[in-house]
């Protein structure tokens, strides 16, 4: 039994956008049947130890095209977790363009952690994130962000970082700050090729973003540096089901097929080597699954920052090298630069921090 179980439901392959870098495949209208989602929820709850936490995520396509289904499944999850004295955490990742009343019902639920995709500066966002008929979406997403800020809804923004957008990353974060965003989760595009020159520009961008982050603390959060700071400071962070990769974390395609991570579902085709045995409708729980091998690389074993490195993400490793336990140079470089820049700005702050004033301010 798990203390934490992560269940991610891809509720439809469909999406109203055609982002050029999307890795989830064709946007066919293939919605999840309610019973597939409901059975997956039941099995996930049955895999939890009493008092455990179900981390329930909704993914797509664009999940909010199935907002009524999501509301029904949340209701189911609330009832099932309450019966077992378990807790429920819910998250939704959306493109921020769905304006139906049901979609707003989902994103404004107080216990739903919302992540909105926006790539920063409007022209950077609109380069890749357009509707199926080619219309730009940055204004619409910015409008959604402003509304959520007005409603005092806590949310984060996912920024996809690519070679053609990396130079504008820090300016993009500043732009999002100007909209009222307080939490940013930049996400490297791992499906594209990064040259050495791209990597150098990524290094520079990480440095610029780290400066922005430290100067804006504590009112602005950037996951890259938050996580490294917690690791550097040895903060005792809570357990999460994230990266269970089949053991304690399951992603379910609309068809009911099972995967170790939602990022690997793609079009859920018959040749997808990452599909797990079984089906959402067959079985009583998600136990008896063995975790895939962890990171194994001689260089990692010898690395001084191995304990604060996130190259243990099997999904990212698989995307980059075809092996779950093998990170590549890009992931390694990214982690080293994030750790180095986090340390640099923390040490800079150390020289200027009015320790007594900060303490008294509390």
């Amino acid at each position: 039994m798990y203390q934490h179980f992560g269940l991610v439901l891809m509720v439809n392959h469909a999406c109203n956008l055609r982002c050029t870098y999307c890795y989830t495949g064709a946007k066919a209208h293939r919605p999840m049947d309610y019973m597939v989602g409901a059975r997956a929820v039941d099995r996930a709850v049955a895999s939890l130890a009493r008092g455990g936490v179900l981390e329930l995520g909704f993914f797509g396509g664009e999940p909010l095209v199935e907002a009524p289904l999501i509301l029904d499944l949340i209701e189911r999850a609330r009832a099932r977790t309450a019966c077992r004295a378990s807790r429920l955490r819910i998250n939704v990742t959306t493109n921020g363009t769905q304006t139906s009343s049901e979609a707003w019902d989902v994103v404004t639920l107080p216990d739903v952690d919302v992540a909105i995709s926006h790539d920063g500066l409007p022209h950077v966002h609109d380069r890749h994130r357009r509707t199926a008929d080619g219309r730009a979406t940055s204004d619409l997403v910015a409008q959604t962000i402003r509304l959520l800020v007005e409603l005092r809804k806590d949310f984060s923004v996912v920024m996809v970082v690519r070679p053609d957008s990396v130079d504008a990353l820090a300016d993009g974060m500043q732009y999002l700050r100007s909209l009222g965003v307080t939490r940013v989760d930049p996400s490297l595009d791992l499906w594209t090729h990064w040259t050495r020159e791209d990597a150098q520009r990524l290094e520079a961008a990480i440095g610029a973003c780290a400066d922005l982050w430290i100067d804006a603390l504590p009112n602005f959060s950037v996951s890259w540096f938050d996580e490294k700071t917690a690791a550097l400071g040895r903060a005792p962070v809570a357990e999460s089901a994230r990266c269970g990769f089949g053991a304690g974390e399951i992603a379910v395609a609309p068809s009911g097929n099972l995967y170790p991570c939602e990022r690997l579902i793609g079009e859920d085709g018959p040749d997808n080597a990452m599909r797990l045995p079984g089906h959402a409708l067959a079985g009583e729980h998600f136990l008896m699954r063995v975790a895939a091998p962890a990171r194994s690389d001689e260089a990692c074993d010898a690395c001084a920052m191995a304990s604060i490195c996130s190259t243990t993400c099997r999904c990212s490793n698989y995307v980059r090298t075809g092996r779950m336990d093998q990170p590549d140079g890009l992931l390694c470089l990214f982690n080293q630069v994030c750790a180095r820049e986090t340390a640099r700005v923390l040490q800079r702050k150390a020289k200027t921090l009015p320790v007594r004033e900060v303490i008294h301010a509390r």
Binding site: T182, R183, W194, T195, R196, D198, A199, Q200, E203, L217, P218, N219, S221, D226, E227, T229, A230, L232, G233, R234, A235, P236, V237, A238, E239, S240, R242, D297, A299, C300, A302, C303, A304, M305, I308, P327, D328, G329, L330, L331, C332, L333, Q336, V337, A339, R340, T342, A343, R344, L346, Q347, K349, A350, L353, V355, R356, V358, I359, A361, R362
Partner: protein, 77 residues
């Protein structure tokens, strides 16, 4: 990137030396205190997945670190 001490993005991982700035930061008491004080000042540790109970634990630890920092600050003055 090798001449900058970083791996080739299209190559294999490359171990970081123990003498790098990151490790020095870990070992520097001042930096650790800064991290603690920043957290005390509202550093958004929830991004690292901290639960309420964990936050309370962290706050307790941070208070100890902050007290030590204040003593140190007072001593230096």
């Amino acid at each position: 990137m090798r001449d900058r001490g970083l791996p080739d993005p299209n190559g294999r991982p490359q171990a970081m030396d123990a003498g790098c700035g990151v490790i020095e930061c870990i070992a520097t008491v001042a930096a650790a205190l800064v991290i603690s004080v920043l957290m005390l000042a509202g550093f958004p540790i929830r991004m690292a997945g901290a639960t309420r109970s964990t936050r309370l634990k962290i706050q307790e630890r941070q208070q100890q670190a902050a007290d030590a920092a204040a003593l140190d600050h007072g001593a230096r003055r």
